[in-house]
Symmetry: C2
Subunit: 254 residues, 2 copies
Protein backbone atom coordinates (compact mmCIF):
# COMPACT_ATOMS: atom_id res chain seq x y z
CA UNK A 1 0.00 0.00 0.00
CA UNK A 2 1.44 3.30 -1.17
CA UNK A 3 0.32 6.76 -0.12
CA UNK A 4 1.53 9.57 -2.36
CA UNK A 5 1.53 13.18 -1.24
CA UNK A 6 0.21 16.20 -3.07
CA UNK A 7 3.63 17.77 -3.64
CA UNK A 8 4.63 14.73 -5.69
CA UNK A 9 1.52 14.98 -7.85
CA UNK A 10 2.36 18.62 -8.54
CA UNK A 11 5.85 17.76 -9.78
CA UNK A 12 5.47 16.27 -13.28
CA UNK A 13 8.99 14.84 -13.53
CA UNK A 14 8.95 13.31 -10.05
CA UNK A 15 5.47 11.90 -10.65
CA UNK A 16 6.51 10.18 -13.90
CA UNK A 17 9.53 8.63 -12.19
CA UNK A 18 7.38 7.51 -9.26
CA UNK A 19 4.78 5.94 -11.55
CA UNK A 20 7.47 4.10 -13.54
CA UNK A 21 8.69 2.53 -10.30
CA UNK A 22 5.18 1.91 -9.01
CA UNK A 23 4.34 -0.09 -12.13
CA UNK A 24 7.20 -2.48 -11.29
CA UNK A 25 6.04 -3.22 -7.74
CA UNK A 26 4.52 -6.60 -6.98
CA UNK A 27 0.74 -6.72 -6.60
CA UNK A 28 -1.68 -6.72 -4.84
CA UNK A 29 -1.17 -2.99 -4.53
CA UNK A 30 -3.35 -0.12 -3.30
CA UNK A 31 -2.57 3.55 -3.98
CA UNK A 32 -3.90 6.43 -1.90
CA UNK A 33 -3.29 10.02 -2.96
CA UNK A 34 -3.68 13.57 -1.76
CA UNK A 35 -3.92 16.68 -3.89
CA UNK A 36 -4.24 19.51 -1.39
CA UNK A 37 -1.93 21.96 -3.16
CA UNK A 38 -3.95 21.72 -6.39
CA UNK A 39 -7.21 22.14 -4.47
CA UNK A 40 -5.80 25.24 -2.78
CA UNK A 41 -4.79 26.65 -6.17
CA UNK A 42 -8.23 26.03 -7.66
CA UNK A 43 -10.00 27.53 -4.62
CA UNK A 44 -7.93 30.68 -4.96
CA UNK A 45 -8.67 30.96 -8.68
CA UNK A 46 -12.38 30.66 -7.89
CA UNK A 47 -12.21 33.22 -5.12
CA UNK A 48 -13.04 30.67 -2.42
CA UNK A 49 -11.33 31.39 0.88
CA UNK A 50 -8.81 28.72 1.93
CA UNK A 51 -8.92 28.16 5.68
CA UNK A 52 -6.54 25.71 7.31
CA UNK A 53 -6.45 24.77 11.01
CA UNK A 54 -3.46 22.70 12.20
CA UNK A 55 -2.70 21.84 8.58
CA UNK A 56 -6.24 20.51 8.01
CA UNK A 57 -8.67 22.10 5.58
CA UNK A 58 -11.89 23.67 6.84
CA UNK A 59 -14.34 22.50 4.17
CA UNK A 60 -17.42 24.59 3.50
CA UNK A 61 -20.01 23.70 0.84
CA UNK A 62 -17.97 25.32 -1.96
CA UNK A 63 -14.69 23.80 -0.78
CA UNK A 64 -16.06 20.23 -0.77
CA UNK A 65 -16.99 20.76 -4.43
CA UNK A 66 -13.43 21.88 -5.17
CA UNK A 67 -11.99 18.95 -3.21
CA UNK A 68 -14.26 16.48 -5.03
CA UNK A 69 -13.33 17.92 -8.41
CA UNK A 70 -9.61 17.89 -7.72
CA UNK A 71 -9.15 14.71 -5.68
CA UNK A 72 -11.83 12.41 -7.19
CA UNK A 73 -11.69 13.97 -10.66
CA UNK A 74 -8.50 15.59 -11.88
CA UNK A 75 -5.83 13.90 -9.77
CA UNK A 76 -7.49 10.49 -9.44
CA UNK A 77 -8.16 10.05 -13.15
CA UNK A 78 -4.77 11.42 -14.16
CA UNK A 79 -3.11 8.79 -11.98
CA UNK A 80 -5.40 6.03 -13.24
CA UNK A 81 -4.79 6.90 -16.90
CA UNK A 82 -1.02 7.14 -16.28
CA UNK A 83 -1.01 3.71 -14.62
CA UNK A 84 -3.13 2.17 -17.38
CA UNK A 85 -0.54 3.49 -19.84
CA UNK A 86 2.06 1.51 -17.88
CA UNK A 87 0.01 -1.69 -18.03
CA UNK A 88 -1.28 -1.44 -14.46
CA UNK A 89 -5.02 -2.13 -14.25
CA UNK A 90 -5.78 0.85 -12.03
CA UNK A 91 -9.30 1.70 -10.90
CA UNK A 92 -9.99 5.02 -9.22
CA UNK A 93 -12.42 5.38 -6.39
CA UNK A 94 -13.62 7.66 -3.67
CA UNK A 95 -15.28 6.44 -0.51
CA UNK A 96 -18.78 6.63 -1.99
CA UNK A 97 -17.94 4.21 -4.84
CA UNK A 98 -19.22 0.82 -3.82
CA UNK A 99 -19.69 2.27 -0.31
CA UNK A 100 -15.95 1.82 0.00
CA UNK A 101 -15.23 4.18 2.91
CA UNK A 102 -17.94 5.52 5.14
CA UNK A 103 -17.25 8.40 7.48
CA UNK A 104 -19.05 10.64 9.92
CA UNK A 105 -19.08 14.41 9.75
CA UNK A 106 -16.63 15.72 12.29
CA UNK A 107 -18.15 17.22 15.40
CA UNK A 108 -16.00 19.70 17.20
CA UNK A 109 -16.96 22.22 19.83
CA UNK A 110 -14.22 24.65 18.87
CA UNK A 111 -14.23 24.63 15.08
CA UNK A 112 -16.91 24.15 12.45
CA UNK A 113 -14.96 21.90 10.09
CA UNK A 114 -17.84 21.75 7.61
CA UNK A 115 -17.75 18.78 5.24
CA UNK A 116 -14.86 16.97 6.91
CA UNK A 117 -15.32 13.28 7.66
CA UNK A 118 -13.68 10.90 10.10
CA UNK A 119 -13.70 7.28 8.98
CA UNK A 120 -16.20 5.28 11.03
CA UNK A 121 -15.19 2.15 12.94
CA UNK A 122 -15.50 -0.65 10.35
CA UNK A 123 -16.07 2.10 7.78
CA UNK A 124 -13.68 0.54 5.26
CA UNK A 125 -15.30 -2.01 2.94
CA UNK A 126 -12.45 -4.50 3.03
CA UNK A 127 -14.35 -7.21 1.16
CA UNK A 128 -14.90 -4.90 -1.83
CA UNK A 129 -11.19 -4.02 -1.89
CA UNK A 130 -10.30 -7.69 -1.59
CA UNK A 131 -12.53 -8.53 -4.58
CA UNK A 132 -10.89 -5.80 -6.65
CA UNK A 133 -7.39 -6.91 -5.65
CA UNK A 134 -8.15 -10.56 -6.38
CA UNK A 135 -9.35 -9.48 -9.84
CA UNK A 136 -5.92 -7.98 -10.56
CA UNK A 137 -7.13 -4.42 -10.09
CA UNK A 138 -5.05 -1.71 -8.39
CA UNK A 139 -7.45 0.54 -6.45
CA UNK A 140 -6.42 4.20 -6.58
CA UNK A 141 -8.14 5.92 -3.68
CA UNK A 142 -8.66 9.61 -3.14
CA UNK A 143 -9.31 11.57 0.02
CA UNK A 144 -13.09 11.87 -0.39
CA UNK A 145 -15.42 9.71 1.70
CA UNK A 146 -19.19 9.72 2.22
CA UNK A 147 -21.60 9.52 5.13
CA UNK A 148 -24.22 7.24 3.54
CA UNK A 149 -26.67 10.12 3.66
CA UNK A 150 -25.66 11.67 0.35
CA UNK A 151 -22.86 13.87 1.65
CA UNK A 152 -19.33 13.70 0.32
CA UNK A 153 -16.77 14.46 3.01
CA UNK A 154 -13.15 15.56 2.92
CA UNK A 155 -10.90 13.12 4.78
CA UNK A 156 -7.16 13.37 5.29
CA UNK A 157 -5.33 11.09 2.82
CA UNK A 158 -2.77 9.89 5.38
CA UNK A 159 -5.66 8.82 7.57
CA UNK A 160 -7.34 7.01 4.69
CA UNK A 161 -4.10 5.15 4.05
CA UNK A 162 -3.97 4.15 7.72
CA UNK A 163 -7.61 3.05 7.80
CA UNK A 164 -7.44 1.04 4.58
CA UNK A 165 -4.12 -0.56 5.50
CA UNK A 166 -5.54 -1.50 8.89
CA UNK A 167 -8.68 -2.99 7.36
CA UNK A 168 -6.65 -5.02 4.86
CA UNK A 169 -4.26 -6.21 7.59
CA UNK A 170 -6.90 -8.78 8.53
CA UNK A 171 -6.66 -10.28 5.02
CA UNK A 172 -3.11 -9.61 3.78
CA UNK A 173 0.39 -8.93 5.15
CA UNK A 174 0.31 -5.18 4.57
CA UNK A 175 3.28 -2.87 4.11
CA UNK A 176 2.30 0.80 4.15
CA UNK A 177 4.62 3.33 2.49
CA UNK A 178 4.10 7.06 2.84
CA UNK A 179 5.82 8.68 -0.16
CA UNK A 180 6.62 12.35 -0.33
CA UNK A 181 9.34 14.71 -1.47
CA UNK A 182 11.93 13.88 1.21
CA UNK A 183 14.05 10.81 1.95
CA UNK A 184 12.20 10.14 5.19
CA UNK A 185 11.76 11.88 8.51
CA UNK A 186 14.72 14.25 8.50
CA UNK A 187 16.81 15.10 11.58
CA UNK A 188 17.87 18.28 9.77
CA UNK A 189 15.22 19.62 7.35
CA UNK A 190 17.92 21.24 5.20
CA UNK A 191 19.83 17.95 4.74
CA UNK A 192 17.96 15.36 2.72
CA UNK A 193 20.46 12.67 3.72
CA UNK A 194 19.71 13.13 7.43
CA UNK A 195 16.75 10.75 7.39
CA UNK A 196 16.21 8.95 10.67
CA UNK A 197 16.43 5.21 9.85
CA UNK A 198 14.10 4.02 12.60
CA UNK A 199 11.42 5.63 14.72
CA UNK A 200 9.91 3.77 17.64
CA UNK A 201 7.60 5.14 20.35
CA UNK A 202 10.74 5.62 22.47
CA UNK A 203 12.67 8.00 20.24
CA UNK A 204 9.43 9.47 18.79
CA UNK A 205 8.61 11.27 22.02
CA UNK A 206 12.16 12.62 22.28
CA UNK A 207 12.05 13.80 18.66
CA UNK A 208 8.75 15.60 19.23
CA UNK A 209 9.97 17.22 22.42
CA UNK A 210 13.15 18.44 20.75
CA UNK A 211 10.97 19.67 17.82
CA UNK A 212 12.87 17.60 15.25
CA UNK A 213 9.44 16.18 14.43
CA UNK A 214 6.77 18.86 14.13
CA UNK A 215 3.82 20.06 12.08
CA UNK A 216 2.23 17.65 9.62
CA UNK A 217 4.76 14.92 10.43
CA UNK A 218 3.14 14.37 13.84
CA UNK A 219 -0.27 13.16 12.56
CA UNK A 220 1.57 11.15 9.87
CA UNK A 221 3.58 9.31 12.53
CA UNK A 222 0.52 8.93 14.74
CA UNK A 223 -1.19 7.28 11.75
CA UNK A 224 1.88 5.09 11.23
CA UNK A 225 1.86 3.85 14.83
CA UNK A 226 -1.90 3.23 14.73
CA UNK A 227 -1.52 1.19 11.53
CA UNK A 228 1.08 -1.01 13.22
CA UNK A 229 -1.15 -1.45 16.26
CA UNK A 230 -3.93 -2.56 13.89
CA UNK A 231 -1.76 -5.27 12.37
CA UNK A 232 0.08 -3.59 9.50
CA UNK A 233 3.46 -5.35 9.21
CA UNK A 234 5.71 -2.46 8.24
CA UNK A 235 5.37 1.31 7.79
CA UNK A 236 7.91 3.22 5.70
CA UNK A 237 8.28 6.95 5.08
CA UNK A 238 10.39 7.75 2.04
CA UNK A 239 11.00 9.73 -1.13
CA UNK A 240 8.59 9.15 -4.00
CA UNK A 241 11.55 9.02 -6.40
CA UNK A 242 13.10 6.10 -4.55
CA UNK A 243 10.34 3.69 -3.62
CA UNK A 244 12.53 0.77 -4.68
CA UNK A 245 15.64 1.63 -2.61
CA UNK A 246 16.26 1.44 1.12
CA UNK A 247 16.77 5.10 2.02
CA UNK A 248 13.82 5.56 4.33
CA UNK A 249 12.47 5.92 7.80
CA UNK A 250 11.05 2.68 9.17
CA UNK A 251 8.40 3.17 11.83
CA UNK A 252 8.28 0.34 14.37
CA UNK A 253 6.43 -0.37 17.58
CA UNK A 254 9.60 -1.45 19.38
CA UNK B 1 -29.42 1.50 -19.08
CA UNK B 2 -30.24 5.12 -18.30
CA UNK B 3 -28.52 8.17 -19.72
CA UNK B 4 -29.19 11.39 -17.86
CA UNK B 5 -28.56 14.79 -19.38
CA UNK B 6 -26.72 17.73 -17.89
CA UNK B 7 -29.81 19.91 -17.53
CA UNK B 8 -31.31 17.37 -15.16
CA UNK B 9 -28.18 17.31 -13.04
CA UNK B 10 -28.36 21.10 -12.76
CA UNK B 11 -31.93 21.01 -11.46
CA UNK B 12 -31.78 19.92 -7.82
CA UNK B 13 -35.49 19.16 -7.43
CA UNK B 14 -35.76 17.24 -10.70
CA UNK B 15 -32.58 15.31 -9.91
CA UNK B 16 -33.87 14.21 -6.50
CA UNK B 17 -37.13 13.03 -8.05
CA UNK B 18 -35.25 11.21 -10.82
CA UNK B 19 -32.96 9.48 -8.33
CA UNK B 20 -35.90 8.40 -6.16
CA UNK B 21 -37.41 6.69 -9.20
CA UNK B 22 -34.09 5.32 -10.38
CA UNK B 23 -33.58 3.58 -7.05
CA UNK B 24 -36.82 1.65 -7.62
CA UNK B 25 -35.84 0.31 -11.06
CA UNK B 26 -34.95 -3.36 -11.39
CA UNK B 27 -31.27 -4.17 -11.73
CA UNK B 28 -28.89 -4.82 -13.49
CA UNK B 29 -28.73 -1.12 -14.21
CA UNK B 30 -26.11 1.17 -15.74
CA UNK B 31 -26.22 4.97 -15.49
CA UNK B 32 -24.41 7.32 -17.89
CA UNK B 33 -24.36 11.05 -17.25
CA UNK B 34 -23.36 14.32 -18.85
CA UNK B 35 -22.56 17.57 -17.09
CA UNK B 36 -21.79 20.00 -19.89
CA UNK B 37 -23.60 22.98 -18.43
CA UNK B 38 -21.63 22.77 -15.18
CA UNK B 39 -18.36 22.39 -17.12
CA UNK B 40 -19.23 25.48 -19.16
CA UNK B 41 -19.93 27.42 -15.96
CA UNK B 42 -16.63 26.38 -14.38
CA UNK B 43 -14.67 27.19 -17.56
CA UNK B 44 -16.14 30.68 -17.59
CA UNK B 45 -15.34 31.23 -13.92
CA UNK B 46 -11.73 30.20 -14.63
CA UNK B 47 -11.48 32.43 -17.68
CA UNK B 48 -11.14 29.47 -20.08
CA UNK B 49 -12.74 30.08 -23.46
CA UNK B 50 -15.69 27.80 -24.22
CA UNK B 51 -15.71 26.79 -27.87
CA UNK B 52 -18.52 24.63 -29.23
CA UNK B 53 -18.83 23.30 -32.81
CA UNK B 54 -22.14 21.67 -33.76
CA UNK B 55 -22.99 21.39 -30.09
CA UNK B 56 -19.75 19.53 -29.31
CA UNK B 57 -17.04 20.93 -27.08
CA UNK B 58 -13.61 21.75 -28.48
CA UNK B 59 -11.38 20.48 -25.67
CA UNK B 60 -7.96 22.06 -25.20
CA UNK B 61 -5.56 21.05 -22.44
CA UNK B 62 -7.23 23.32 -19.87
CA UNK B 63 -10.74 22.27 -20.90
CA UNK B 64 -10.03 18.54 -20.48
CA UNK B 65 -8.97 19.32 -16.91
CA UNK B 66 -12.28 21.11 -16.33
CA UNK B 67 -14.24 18.27 -17.95
CA UNK B 68 -12.42 15.68 -15.84
CA UNK B 69 -13.04 17.65 -12.66
CA UNK B 70 -16.73 18.20 -13.37
CA UNK B 71 -17.75 14.92 -15.03
CA UNK B 72 -15.51 12.39 -13.25
CA UNK B 73 -15.33 14.33 -10.00
CA UNK B 74 -18.17 16.62 -9.00
CA UNK B 75 -21.12 15.19 -10.92
CA UNK B 76 -20.11 11.54 -10.84
CA UNK B 77 -19.46 11.41 -7.11
CA UNK B 78 -22.54 13.47 -6.30
CA UNK B 79 -24.68 10.93 -8.16
CA UNK B 80 -22.90 7.97 -6.57
CA UNK B 81 -23.30 9.37 -3.04
CA UNK B 82 -26.97 10.18 -3.72
CA UNK B 83 -27.62 6.64 -4.97
CA UNK B 84 -25.76 5.10 -2.04
CA UNK B 85 -28.05 7.12 0.23
CA UNK B 86 -30.98 5.40 -1.52
CA UNK B 87 -29.53 1.93 -0.97
CA UNK B 88 -28.26 1.54 -4.53
CA UNK B 89 -24.70 0.18 -4.62
CA UNK B 90 -23.45 2.70 -7.17
CA UNK B 91 -19.84 2.78 -8.35
CA UNK B 92 -18.59 5.72 -10.39
CA UNK B 93 -16.16 5.30 -13.20
CA UNK B 94 -14.61 7.01 -16.18
CA UNK B 95 -13.23 5.16 -19.15
CA UNK B 96 -9.74 4.90 -17.68
CA UNK B 97 -10.95 3.02 -14.59
CA UNK B 98 -10.30 -0.64 -15.17
CA UNK B 99 -9.65 0.29 -18.84
CA UNK B 100 -13.40 0.46 -19.12
CA UNK B 101 -13.72 2.57 -22.29
CA UNK B 102 -10.83 3.14 -24.63
CA UNK B 103 -11.03 5.81 -27.29
CA UNK B 104 -8.87 7.38 -29.96
CA UNK B 105 -8.18 11.09 -30.23
CA UNK B 106 -10.41 12.50 -32.94
CA UNK B 107 -8.67 13.37 -36.19
CA UNK B 108 -10.38 15.97 -38.29
CA UNK B 109 -9.00 17.95 -41.18
CA UNK B 110 -11.26 20.92 -40.51
CA UNK B 111 -11.21 21.34 -36.76
CA UNK B 112 -8.65 20.69 -34.05
CA UNK B 113 -10.95 19.10 -31.48
CA UNK B 114 -8.12 18.74 -28.97
CA UNK B 115 -8.69 16.14 -26.27
CA UNK B 116 -11.86 14.66 -27.76
CA UNK B 117 -12.05 10.89 -28.07
CA UNK B 118 -14.12 8.56 -30.23
CA UNK B 119 -14.73 5.16 -28.69
CA UNK B 120 -12.64 2.52 -30.47
CA UNK B 121 -14.20 -0.59 -32.02
CA UNK B 122 -14.37 -3.08 -29.12
CA UNK B 123 -13.31 -0.17 -26.89
CA UNK B 124 -15.91 -0.99 -24.22
CA UNK B 125 -14.73 -3.50 -21.62
CA UNK B 126 -17.98 -5.45 -21.43
CA UNK B 127 -16.56 -8.21 -19.24
CA UNK B 128 -15.58 -5.69 -16.55
CA UNK B 129 -19.07 -4.18 -16.62
CA UNK B 130 -20.61 -7.65 -16.49
CA UNK B 131 -18.53 -8.51 -13.43
CA UNK B 132 -19.64 -5.32 -11.69
CA UNK B 133 -23.30 -5.90 -12.59
CA UNK B 134 -23.18 -9.52 -11.43
CA UNK B 135 -21.77 -8.29 -8.11
CA UNK B 136 -24.87 -6.12 -7.62
CA UNK B 137 -23.07 -2.91 -8.47
CA UNK B 138 -24.65 -0.10 -10.49
CA UNK B 139 -21.91 1.46 -12.66
CA UNK B 140 -22.28 5.24 -12.95
CA UNK B 141 -20.31 6.28 -16.01
CA UNK B 142 -19.15 9.73 -16.98
CA UNK B 143 -18.20 11.16 -20.34
CA UNK B 144 -14.43 10.84 -19.93
CA UNK B 145 -12.53 8.07 -21.72
CA UNK B 146 -8.82 7.36 -22.20
CA UNK B 147 -6.52 6.39 -25.04
CA UNK B 148 -4.33 3.91 -23.18
CA UNK B 149 -1.42 6.27 -23.60
CA UNK B 150 -2.09 8.35 -20.49
CA UNK B 151 -4.47 10.84 -22.08
CA UNK B 152 -7.97 11.45 -20.78
CA UNK B 153 -10.39 12.33 -23.58
CA UNK B 154 -13.76 14.05 -23.64
CA UNK B 155 -16.44 11.86 -25.23
CA UNK B 156 -20.09 12.70 -25.79
CA UNK B 157 -22.25 11.09 -23.10
CA UNK B 158 -25.02 10.06 -25.54
CA UNK B 159 -22.37 8.24 -27.56
CA UNK B 160 -21.00 6.53 -24.47
CA UNK B 161 -24.52 5.36 -23.64
CA UNK B 162 -24.86 3.97 -27.17
CA UNK B 163 -21.47 2.23 -27.09
CA UNK B 164 -21.96 0.69 -23.66
CA UNK B 165 -25.53 -0.41 -24.43
CA UNK B 166 -24.34 -2.00 -27.67
CA UNK B 167 -21.47 -3.81 -25.95
CA UNK B 168 -23.81 -5.13 -23.25
CA UNK B 169 -26.40 -6.22 -25.84
CA UNK B 170 -24.26 -9.30 -26.44
CA UNK B 171 -24.71 -10.31 -22.80
CA UNK B 172 -28.08 -8.89 -21.68
CA UNK B 173 -31.41 -7.77 -23.15
CA UNK B 174 -30.70 -4.06 -23.01
CA UNK B 175 -33.21 -1.22 -22.85
CA UNK B 176 -31.60 2.20 -23.30
CA UNK B 177 -33.41 5.28 -21.98
CA UNK B 178 -32.25 8.79 -22.74
CA UNK B 179 -33.63 11.02 -19.97
CA UNK B 180 -33.76 14.75 -20.24
CA UNK B 181 -36.00 17.71 -19.38
CA UNK B 182 -38.73 17.02 -21.97
CA UNK B 183 -41.39 14.32 -22.39
CA UNK B 184 -39.72 12.96 -25.51
CA UNK B 185 -38.99 14.19 -29.01
CA UNK B 186 -41.50 17.04 -29.29
CA UNK B 187 -43.44 17.87 -32.46
CA UNK B 188 -43.90 21.37 -31.03
CA UNK B 189 -41.04 22.49 -28.76
CA UNK B 190 -43.39 24.80 -26.87
CA UNK B 191 -45.84 21.98 -26.04
CA UNK B 192 -44.42 19.37 -23.70
CA UNK B 193 -47.37 17.07 -24.39
CA UNK B 194 -46.60 16.93 -28.12
CA UNK B 195 -44.10 14.10 -27.78
CA UNK B 196 -43.92 11.84 -30.84
CA UNK B 197 -44.79 8.33 -29.60
CA UNK B 198 -42.76 6.46 -32.18
CA UNK B 199 -39.85 7.30 -34.43
CA UNK B 200 -38.70 4.89 -37.10
CA UNK B 201 -36.24 5.50 -39.96
CA UNK B 202 -39.29 6.28 -42.15
CA UNK B 203 -40.73 9.19 -40.20
CA UNK B 204 -37.28 10.23 -38.92
CA UNK B 205 -36.18 11.48 -42.33
CA UNK B 206 -39.43 13.39 -42.78
CA UNK B 207 -39.08 14.92 -39.32
CA UNK B 208 -35.53 16.05 -40.05
CA UNK B 209 -36.49 17.49 -43.44
CA UNK B 210 -39.37 19.41 -41.93
CA UNK B 211 -36.97 20.60 -39.15
CA UNK B 212 -39.16 19.21 -36.37
CA UNK B 213 -36.04 17.29 -35.37
CA UNK B 214 -32.95 19.49 -35.35
CA UNK B 215 -29.80 20.38 -33.43
CA UNK B 216 -28.62 18.04 -30.69
CA UNK B 217 -31.60 15.72 -31.19
CA UNK B 218 -30.14 14.49 -34.49
CA UNK B 219 -26.99 12.86 -33.05
CA UNK B 220 -29.12 11.54 -30.15
CA UNK B 221 -31.45 9.78 -32.61
CA UNK B 222 -28.53 8.59 -34.72
CA UNK B 223 -27.11 7.04 -31.55
CA UNK B 224 -30.51 5.50 -30.83
CA UNK B 225 -30.74 3.86 -34.25
CA UNK B 226 -27.14 2.61 -34.05
CA UNK B 227 -27.86 1.06 -30.63
CA UNK B 228 -30.81 -0.83 -32.09
CA UNK B 229 -28.72 -2.02 -35.04
CA UNK B 230 -26.16 -3.31 -32.53
CA UNK B 231 -28.76 -5.40 -30.73
CA UNK B 232 -30.24 -3.10 -28.09
CA UNK B 233 -33.87 -4.19 -27.64
CA UNK B 234 -35.57 -0.86 -27.04
CA UNK B 235 -34.57 2.82 -27.00
CA UNK B 236 -36.70 5.38 -25.16
CA UNK B 237 -36.40 9.15 -24.99
CA UNK B 238 -38.32 10.67 -22.08
CA UNK B 239 -38.52 13.08 -19.18
CA UNK B 240 -36.23 12.43 -16.23
CA UNK B 241 -39.13 13.10 -13.87
CA UNK B 242 -41.19 10.29 -15.38
CA UNK B 243 -38.91 7.35 -15.99
CA UNK B 244 -41.57 5.01 -14.62
CA UNK B 245 -44.49 6.17 -16.79
CA UNK B 246 -45.18 5.65 -20.49
CA UNK B 247 -45.04 9.21 -21.80
CA UNK B 248 -42.10 8.88 -24.13
CA UNK B 249 -40.73 8.58 -27.62
CA UNK B 250 -39.95 5.01 -28.58
CA UNK B 251 -37.27 4.71 -31.25
CA UNK B 252 -37.70 1.63 -33.44
CA UNK B 253 -36.03 0.25 -36.54
CA UNK B 254 -39.35 -0.48 -38.23
Amino acid sequence: MIKIGGNVIDNEELLEHFLDNLAELPQPLVVVHGGGAIATGLSKKLGIEVKMVNGRRVTDSETIKVATMVYAGLVNKKLVAALQKRGVNAFGLCGADGDCIRSGKRNSEDIDWGFVGDVLPDGVNGSLLERLLEAGIVPVMCAITHDGNGNLLNTNADTIAKEVASALAGIYDVELTYCFEKQGVLADPSDDESYIPEITPDNYHELVESKVIAGGMIPKLDNAFLSLKHGVKRVLIKHAANITNTKQTIVKLS
